[in-house]
Amino acid sequence: MTEKIRNALEGKEMYAFSAATALLLFLTAFLLASPDELLRGIVTIVLTRDALVTDYFELAGFGAAFFNAGLVMSMAILLIRLQKIPFTGLTMAVLFINAGFALFGKNPINVLPMLLGTWLYAKFHRSGMNRYIYTALFGSCLAPMVTELVYLLPFSFAANLGIAVAVGIFSGFVLPPLSVHTASMHMGYNLFNMGFAGGLFAFVMMCVLQSFSLESSSVFIWSYGRPLWLLAGLYLYFAAAMLFGLFLSKNCLRSLLKLMQHPGRAVADFVLMDGVPVTLVNMGIIGLLCTTYILLIGGDLSGPVVGAVLTAFGFAAFGVHARNYLPVLAGVLLSTFVTHMQPTTPGIQMGAVSAVGLAPVAGQFGIRAGIIAGMLHAAVTVCSSSLYGGLNLYNNGFSTGLVAIVLVPALESFIKGYQTKKEQKRMR
């Protein structure tokens, strides 16, 4: 029987897992709220400005937030399927970042202009959309710019909407070439490449707006506390991911040790390199690790934190594992002992979980380098969002990009210099 299920799922394991997750999000939504409440909640989410940080748990209720996450994730799965993109590690990362950020900023409406812009870019270059689908789906981090402009511009609602959509389309058009160059800037040591590219674009947009005396300001809507049902649900979900991996292959624990040898620098696609079963186990471990960290520090299971945990979970298929993440996480935590920030400061909670973006630094240069990267990230992430008034949802991606650009060349020269000296000593 189990063999039959395994055979039926062969090659479709990650698709099945993603689709089941989207269904689970819908099911959770219907358990938490009536259809009428869900509808009202979705309308609230769509009509409200979404600048960072707008927690949909607080804004529209848990049910509507999960329903929104289910909608955005389903849209992403549909696009991936329509473009015949394989369900690799990067696909899992893009699906779960969309599900996660649909708890605080993305909705099925405000992501559309960016998708359209990238589609136009593909048409302009006479290429298929399948080449740019990842860029389009990651690029929806600029979704708040669309809703923000509708409320910020001084014209009629129709004119504001037209300009906002045009700017959204333009950003979707610009992001594909921009993201290629940002990847080479941090040399793959920042896993949230689009967060860095989006942050640069949002910063330029913010400056343009300010030159017209228009200023977008960050928002802070945050739900406090850790509902027991949500905590238990997250633990069960991540444990289920691990069990699914173990069901697919009982030998994957041995493969896990091999997976943890990868530095994690892009393009470390664990699905392609090590297979689906061990990747699922690794994803489950990272999900459990992040949730436990939030529990231990007494943090909040708010929309942004749960969204960040889901993002980390997805990126555990594309470069992140416990061995390269723990040093960076330790760095974020250690920084709170020497700075004015607390581990429970909302920005630091998100920063700690999203520090997965710098995991390749620890993977490549070692534990000490990872700790330094984490400490720097904690400092940068709390002030970087003010650069673009919350217009870029992937603020942590922007921060991890900056840290990687500054830190990696220094680490390379220091470590290579140290190795050369060591080699010379040995030769003598």
Binding site: P86, Y134, A183, M187, G188, H262, R265, V267, D269, L272
Partner: protein, 115 residues
């Protein structure tokens, strides 16, 4: 130079870096360009102690082509530390298929890429 030509150059750079890491003393590369097809031929020797590193060459190079990933990360090819397998995977995403002739201390690769 178009991006497609730069990508071809990056593939050669990555493979060269990879074989440097395997202590190659001889690397010969040739590129043949036709209208929408590029063939990259590479012949290199390597120290026999690295034979294990080449065991997965087919898995990485003949994995599924992935234009989406290749288009975001192609500039990273050739930029990493020599011998990184994830960068070899990136090459695999940028080509259609590879013929691999593996000897005891020498390898011949023929990579085919539709542009």
């Amino acid at each position: 130079m178009t991006h497609e030509e730069k990508k071809t150059a990056k593939i050669v750079e990555e493979l060269t870096m990879f074989f440097f890491a395997l202590e190659a003393s001889y690397i010969d590369t040739r590129i043949e360009r036709k209208k929408q097809h590029v063939t990259i031929r590479l012949e290199a020797d390597f120290h026999p102690s690295f034979a294990e590193k080449l065991a997965h060459l087919d898995h990485y190079l003949n994995g599924q082509k992935n234009d989406g990933m290749g288009d975001i990360y192609w500039e990273l090819a050739g930029s990493g530390d020599p011998g990184e397998s994830s960068q070899l995977l990136l090459v695999g995403m940028m080509i259609d298929c590879a013929d691999i002739e593996l000897g005891a201390d020498r390898v011949k690769l023929t990579l085919h890429r539709q542009t």
